[in-house]
């Protein structure tokens, strides 16, 4: 994404933003809300709302892009400067103890036209015994790393430190700029070949699309510190310290296989975003700064835990060694010149079968750390993430670690995914993670 300035007029989307816009289009076409991301902070008390209001106002003034609108000019999309001030912070007083969960679902499932949607919203839920702070963003605006930076900005007390947050130096742009035209073409060919190779095997899908999806639901699963340590040790043993996400992905493939997927394919295939942001950097706040890697395992290999992890790791090492991790950038760049419908057909679906490539969506946010020990006077008890998903695969798994404890959110479309099936899947996944199966 281009640099965000206070005098912004029309800011173009970067190639990875387009990738998320394609998914937004697919989600909307299925009659669902759109591609939003969500971070939820669980608080022990009501935060100082007035102080939060002041900080949010400062953020809005520094980054007007957060209240812009997505507009289409020809085939291209831009963030358009708003003509009036927008309220992006909302306070909800709820009378029931469980009031915030239904309200969260309501907001995540709210159907609004793309061109009138405010891309960033903050919500504070106050209810007896529980309080929550919720950030919802429209995915072309930023990735989860960017949303983490927005949260970090709100929680940074020093003005001098807050001034260091900006929107310059997009890593995705920097990669694309450093490559010559021929290097880009070389990477593009490599990326396309890689995808064509992946598409030789038809993907297994957890649900079929015979049932029409109605809305997104989610389930949060928290692990204790002791369980998290066990999982970390097993991950290190199976895939090494440099490929930890593969442990979660492999366990989830096996959990689905044990639970019984609706559409049996030749392989499990999981495209997962690989963030190009520098660790600890507070810039750029906006833009999706990601490339994509694929984890694919033939169905018969999933049956043997050790062999599956060996295969996944080897595939990953080869992908990084051959630089196919970066090859998806020129593919996304080329795709961003297509109409979003065509982009979906060419880059999102399996080229041979025209069906969904992803057996599920996956994201590992990693360690979640804040700039402050508290959230405007409230202690943060927990954090989890939310994400809508296309239909199919109708299922996504988001992971993060907070206070040295693993937290997972199952995001799924109902009634395609029924609660009984999900309950078994969750049980199988926990057993897999803790190494209780062979």
């Amino acid at each position: 994404m281009a640099s965000c300035k206070t005098d912004m007029r029309a800011v173009p989307l970067n190639p990875a933003d387009y990738f998320t816009l394609v998914m937004d289009n697919e989600i909307r076409k299925a009659g669902l809300s759109g591609s939003y991301g969500g971070i939820v902070l669980e608080l022990d008390s009501k935060p100082d709302f007035e102080a939060l209001e002041v900080r949010v106002a400062e953020f809005q003034s520094r980054f007007p892009l957060c209240r812009s609108r997505l507009t289409k000019q020809g085939k291209r999309y831009y963030w358009q400067e708003p003509t009036k001030d927008e309220k992006i912070l909302h306070l909800h007083h709820l009378s029931s103890r469980d009031g915030s969960a239904p309200r969260l679902k309501e907001i995540m499932n709210l159907r609004q036209p793309l061109d009138t949607t405010v891309p960033l919203e903050f919500h504070v839920f106050c209810q007896p015994g529980r309080h929550r702070f919720f950030i919802r963003w429209l995915h072309p605006l930023c990735d989860a790393g960017g949303a983490g930076l927005i949260l970090k900005f709100l929680l940074t007390d020093s003005l001098q430190e807050r001034q260091q947050f900006n929107d310059d130096d997009s890593p995705i742009q920097s990669y694309l700029d450093r490559w010559s035209l021929w290097e880009k073409i070389g990477f593009f060919i490599k990326g396309k070949r890689h995808i064509n190779g992946i598409d030789r095997l038809k993907s297994t899908l957890p649900v079929d699309d015979v049932v029409v999806p109605e809305q997104l639901d989610f389930k949060v699963v928290r692990f204790s510190r002791q369980q998290t340590e066990v999982i970390d040790q097993l991950a290190r043993k199976q895939v090494g310290m440099a490929a930890k996400s593969l442990y979660y992905i492999g366990c989830f493939m096996r959990a689905i296989a044990m639970t019984g997927p609706a559409v049996e394919g030749d392989a499990y295939c999981i495209p997962y975003a690989f963030n190009l942001r520098k660790q600890k950097a507070v810039s750029p706040v906006f833009g999706n700064q990601v490339s994509v890697l694929f984890a694919q395992v033939p169905t018969d290999l999933v049956e043997n835990r050790n062999n599956m992890f060996k295969y996944l790791k080897q595939q990953y090492v080869e992908a990084v060694r051959n630089k196919t991790d970066l090859a998806f950038l020129p593919v996304m760049l080329a795709g961003s010149w297509l109409s979003i419908e065509r982009y979906g057909q060419v880059l999102r679906n399996q080229s041979r079968h025209g069906t969904e490539r992803s057996s599920f969506w996956f994201s590992d946010i990693g360690e979640i750390d804040f700039a402050a020990a508290d959230f405007f006077g409230s202690v943060v008890d927990g954090v989890f993430h939310l994400s809508p998903v296309t239909s199919p695969p109708s299922l996504s798994l988001l992971l993060g670690k907070f206070d040295q404890k693993l937290v997972m959110t199952y995001n799924y479309l109902i009634p395609q995914v029924d609660s009984g099936w999900l309950g078994i899947l969750q049980k199988n996944m926990t057993s897999e993670l803790l190494g209780e199966t062979r």
Partner: protein, 78 residues
Amino acid sequence: MKEKLRHFIFQELIYTANPETFSDDEDLLEAGLDSMGIMRLTMFIEETFGVTLPDEEIEPDNVRSFNRLKTWIQRHQV
């Protein structure tokens, strides 16, 4: 060798306000070197220094600091 490592790590993987004050013994994992970063760093080392680093040796003790990285690489240089 350390200069090349420093350039790659601070250019591609970790942000630090003052890379020049980051000592060769300082903890890179604490500074934000994550699993994907370690993988990319390993591939960079293999390509740049012409060594093959065994997967089982990709562990905190070998990647924790610039000095540890140097020792690890030298052990595999002929």
